[in-house]
Every structure is written in C-alpha cells, then in structure tokens.
Amino acid sequence: MGVTILTPYPLQNKSGAEAIEELSKRLLALGATQAGQFLVDGDIFEHSFKKIKIHVMHNSEYPASVFSILDNGQKQIPLITDLIFDLLMLKVNPIYSSKKMIKIESKGPRFELGDFLVKLGSVTMSQNQNFKGILIEVDYRPCLVPAFCWDLIKEFLQGLLGQQAPTAIPGYFTNTLPSNNPNQHYHRFNDTYQPIDTVQQYLEHFNNYRKQSQAPTI
C-alpha cells in the first residue's frame, strides 16, 4: 500500500476499449508488466424515507474488506469491515434497499512499473453495463504521505498521459477537514494515507458519473 491518485482520462473521440489499449501499449513500452486485473465496485443503499445513503464499496486490492460510507447530506462516516458486512446489508433490506440501476464499477488491467502500480479502469454503470468513462489509478507504493510524493506522481502521470495529466492536487486531498483546533487547517494531503482514501476518491468520481445524464458510446 502506498499513496494512490485517481484521475479521469478524457476520451477525445476514442472509444473506451481503444483508449485502454493505447494506454496499455504505452505502459508496456515504458517497461511495465501486466499483473492481473482489478475491480472496484460501488453500490448504494438508500433509507426508505430519510435522506440517508450508504455507499457499500469493494476493492479487489483488499479482497477481505468492505468499505462503507454513510452520507446523511451533512457529513460522511466511513466504516471498514469484514466481507460478511454484505450479508448484514441484506438483513436491513426493508429499511435500506439497494439501487441496482446506479450500481457502478471500474475494472480493467493492472500494471506494475518499478515502485508504481497503475490500473486502467473502464467505468460501467447498472446491469446494462453502460460505459461511462476511464479512471486511471496510480499508486506509488514506497510512500505513505501524499505531500511527500505528489510531485513524483504528477511527473509520472505527465510522462504517461502527456497534456491530459492533472496539474493540480485532487480536491479530495486539499479540502479542509474539521479539526479540534480551529486555528489549524487540516488537510488529508499531509496525513497518512489509508486504503479508505482510495475508496473515497473512487466514490467522488463514481458520483460524478452518476450525475452525468448522457453516456458516451463505447
């Protein structure tokens, strides 16, 4: 585990499959080796009459865990549990029900390149597998604090994606968080990175895709 940055990749008139193939070729040319596939999925359970959503997410990198994020409109509470938590969510069924139409997942090839781990994910939504876009995950494994390795990851992404690479720090790391001391601003950027941070970044992007009304064609 290290620090992971998740970034969407603009398609620019290419189909999803073409873009993944082109990026895969680029990575292999850089000397990366393909190391299996990955899958991150997200499901939403909604309260039958209150405005409470529970996002239940899985990441194949942590196959024994379930990451849940409760969102009541004002704050988010993360919870990490064993896989059996999924069974419990079936038990709360009349009160919280799953919205199958907005189940979303990102899956694709996983590459290793030195200290970096790169995952190229095609995002699909609902049971019809509507294609939504491409999310690239770059994990720099030797480091645990985003502030220490952001520049390195940025440079790596520029080498891989050229002009489409992000130049600014993702908002997830720079948002001010509530802190005990009101004079001191607290950001995730200087904090120790945890697996839930990867899942929360996915959640942000998944929610953006859910909001998009029209999907590009594959």
Partner: protein
C-alpha cells in the same frame, strides 16, 4: 487473465455451499457467585486448555436496534426490530486501533423437544472504531450497554463461557454468573447439537444448561 469476481457474488457462492458459520447453537444456564469456583474446577477438568489457566475476558457490549420504518402497529409487530451488538474488549492492551466487533443475532428458534439446543442466526463482523457513529447515523437506537467479564473454555469446537454482567458503573447486575455453551457452525451442522447435549449432561448437577425461551421469560417478567 481471470477477472476478479465481484465480492458479493463470491460471498453468495460461499453462502450457498455452506462454508460461512452463521448459525449459533446455544445452551444457557446460571450459577450463584458462591458456587462458581466449583463449576470452574469442573470445566478445567473437562475442557481442552487443561494445563493453562482459563482464558479471561472483559468486554464492553452495546446493543442497538434498527426499527422498521412501517408506522402501522400491526405490521410493526410482524417485523420485529433488528438487533445489532457492538463489542469491544476492555482488558489491556487496548489502543485506538483495537478493532470493534459487530454482531448480528437473529430470532432464536427453539424447535421441538427433540432438538437439544436453541439455534439462532449469528455472525460476527470485525470493523473499524467508527461503527458506533455509523450505526447511530444509520438510525439505530442504543437500547442498553453493559460490560461482561469472565472466563472462556474450549472443548473441540464448543465454546464455554462463564461470565458476570456489570452495569457501566461496574455494579453487578445480579448475584450469579451466566454460563453459556455455544458452537458457531454453518447451517445444516445439526450433529454438533448432540455433542453439546452430552457435554451439558457432564456439568449436571453443578449447572443446568437449557434452551431458554426468551418469550416465556419476558412474560414472566411482566
């Protein structure tokens, strides 16, 4: 290369082939404080961990209920609330990273007289310390909380606990110890119930382990 299976699919598959231990076979009894040493001695002789002293435990337990959103009284009675317990050890060493456990316990099934033990759905889920906030925001209500301290014995796959329940202010709730004999097994493993009946026989007359009918107990309380 193989696509990783969706987590939910692999879990449902595991459930289908009965490898998830989600059924608890249970017998309960109680013994007065003055007689507990005799039961402990007897258990030391009967159980697996003979040479070492019995394992001690001290847990905090909170019970939350998640009510049905149905407002109609009749329907609400048909759909009993869901009870979830949050458990955390309180014996040292404890730090901020000590995991919490979330336990779901279903309705107990007594079965007929032939069935030697009570059976109820039960599963334990290890979870991060945010669980209490998570449950509260989810709409769960804290029903009661207590600490439980005692001894743990093992005999094969059976678990025997002799424990005392305290209020949060450390005041004991009664003058007796709770004795529980339980096995957590996947569904369909009814043969363990017979082993439990035989073991319970060996503890007589020091402690009587029985199927407790909670409904009858509640009526007696009223």
């Amino acid at each position: 290369m193989d696509q990783p299976a969706a987590a939910m699919d692999s879990l449902l598959q595991a459930l289908q082939v009965n490898i998830i231990p989600n059924q608890e076979y249970l017998l309960q009894g109680s013994v007065l404080d003055t007689a507990v040493q005799r039961v402990l001695h007897r258990l030391k002789g009967l159980c697996d961990n003979v040479e070492s002293a019995p394992e001690q435990f001290s847990d905090y337990e909170a019970c939350f209920s998640l009510g049905s959103p149905v407002t109609d009284q009749m329907q609400a009675q048909q759909q009993p609330p869901l009870f979830l317990r949050v458990i955390r050890k309180t014996s040292e060493p404890v730090d901020a990273g000590t995991p919490f456990q979330l336990r779901y316990i279903g309705n107990p099934e007594l079965g007929d007289a032939k069935r030697p033990t009570l059976v109820r759905a039960s599963f334990d889920i290890a979870c991060s310390p945010t669980i209490c906030d998570f449950l509260t925001e989810m709409g769960c209500q804290l029903k009661f909380e207590y600490t439980i301290r005692g001894y743990l014995f093992r005999k094969g796959r059976m678990k025997i606990s002799v424990s005392k329940i305290f209020k949060i202010n450390q005041e004991p709730i009664s003058q007796s110890y709770l004795v529980e004999l339980s096995v957590l097994a996947p569904s369909g493993h009814d043969s363990v119930a017979e082993d439990m009946r035989i073991f319970a026989e060996k503890l007589k007359p020091l402690v009587l382990l029985e199927k407790i009918d909670y409904k009858r107990l509640a009526q007696m309380g009223n």
